[in-house]
């Protein structure tokens, strides 16, 4: 049984909740209409279709569109070798969906990372703390409206941040001018 047939089985089981399977370069994607039903669909995929390995959960910021967030689940069955992708939309006002830790334990850190980087909360997560940044950091740095350079923040005794200079770039050199400080400046603006 290939991925497409597995996807059809999910479609038959859940009906209108699931979109028609979309196939691109032999990878199959299903869209789940209601994010609240994600654990149900995942449980079925694991118990009945043997998708016993959650490869990754990722999140997409569709900045400017509504709904803003898309959460993507990558499933794999180690016994049958098929892969399946589940997508679901979450609105910015809600920014919350149920956790799938009860289905795959490994979802724990994936969901923490999404919470850390995007600020989407997972209901039912036993330990929803930041995983990369420190507790108390006020921003979600992978959102599209967060600048790459970062924003200033201060948490006395724990950590601080300052915006990084982005003009020029670290490997921009000016050929043949003087000493190393002028030739390889810390920052060089494009118009200079």
């Amino acid at each position: 049984m290939n991925s497409l047939e597995q996807a059809q089985k999910i479609k038959v089981r859940f009906g209108d909740l699931i979109s028609e399977p979309a196939e691109f370069r032999s990878e199959v994607t299903l869209k789940v209409a209601d994010a609240e039903k994600i654990p149900e669909v995942c449980r079925y995929a694991k118990s009945d279709l043997d998708f016993n390995y959650l490869v990754d959960i990722s999140s997409v910021d569709n900045y400017g569109d509504d709904p803003r967030w898309t959460v993507v689940y990558h499933l794999r069955g180690l016994r049958h070798g098929c892969e399946l992708r589940l997508k679901t939309d979450v609105s910015e006002e809600k920014s919350e969906l149920p956790s799938v830790i009860d289905v795959w334990n490994t979802a724990n850190w994936h969901e923490r990372e999404i919470y850390d980087m995007m600020g989407i909360r997972f209901r039912g997560h036993p330990d929803l703390r930041r995983i990369l940044m420190w507790e108390g950091y006020p921003y979600f740095p992978l959102r599209k409206d967060f600048p790459l350079a970062g924003k200033p923040s201060e948490l006395p005794g724990i950590a601080f941040t300052k915006p990084a200079p982005l003009e020029g770039g670290p490997f921009v050199t000016v050929a043949g001018s003087g000493d190393a400080t002028n030739r390889e400046p810390r920052v060089r603006n494009p118009e200079e």
Binding site: W134, Y139, L148, A149, G150, K162, A164, P170
Partner: protein, 179 residues
């Protein structure tokens, strides 16, 4: 080899006596026993290990005693990317080192943030602690680390230890015993 005139010694003339300045002697002791604190944070630490291993052999310069306790170290070698999450830990470890202490910023990341122009990385460890020697490279070869160490030794060799001591005592005189 460079002749060290400060502690030059001619056994035919001076016999069993060495004449030198206290500053020069103290600096000579200090610079040939710089105990490093290996602040290994990224791939630079691997090159630092290579510098300590037999092929490059940092013990030729008296710095083979890597101390993992800051209280026993003289020179912090910041080897790798300093993230903002780690920055306060690096500062704290530096603060725990006893005076006199020196810092080598090893590699592009420790010196300037390197290729990480991003929200998460401190743009050079000199934002939080004073750096004596910067080493270029990503990562630098072990020879570059040894060169930095030799440059640091040159710097230590010129520090006016006694003058500084006198100046500090002039600023903070010891309380006189009651008559």
């Amino acid at each position: 080899m460079r002749a060290n005139t400060e502690i030059g010694y001619d056994s035919k003339i001076e016999g069993d006596v060495i004449v030198t300045r206290v500053d020069a002697a103290l600096n000579w002791f200090r610079k040939n026993s710089v105990w490093p604190m290996p602040m290994g944070l990224a791939c630079c630490a691997i090159e630092l290990m290579a510098a300590g291993a037999s092929r490059f052999d940092i013990s030729r310069f008296g710095s083979e005693v890597m101390r993992f306790s800051p209280r026993q170290a003289d020179c912090m070698i910041v080897a790798g990317t300093v993230t903002y999450k780690m920055a306060m830990c690096v500062k704290r470890i530096y603060d725990q080192m006893p005076e006199p202490k020196w810092v080598i910023a090893m590699g592009a990341c420790a010196s300037t943030g390197g290729m990480y122009r991003s929200y998460a990385v401190l743009q050079g460890v000199d934002h939080i602690i004073p750096v004596d020697v910067y080493v270029s490279g990503c990562p630098p070869r072990p020879e570059a680390v040894l060169d930095a160490l030799m440059k640091l030794q040159d710097k230590i060799g010129t520090q006016p230890v006694l003058q500084d001591l006198v100046a500090v005592q002039a600023l903070h005189p010891e309380p006189k015993a009651a008559a």
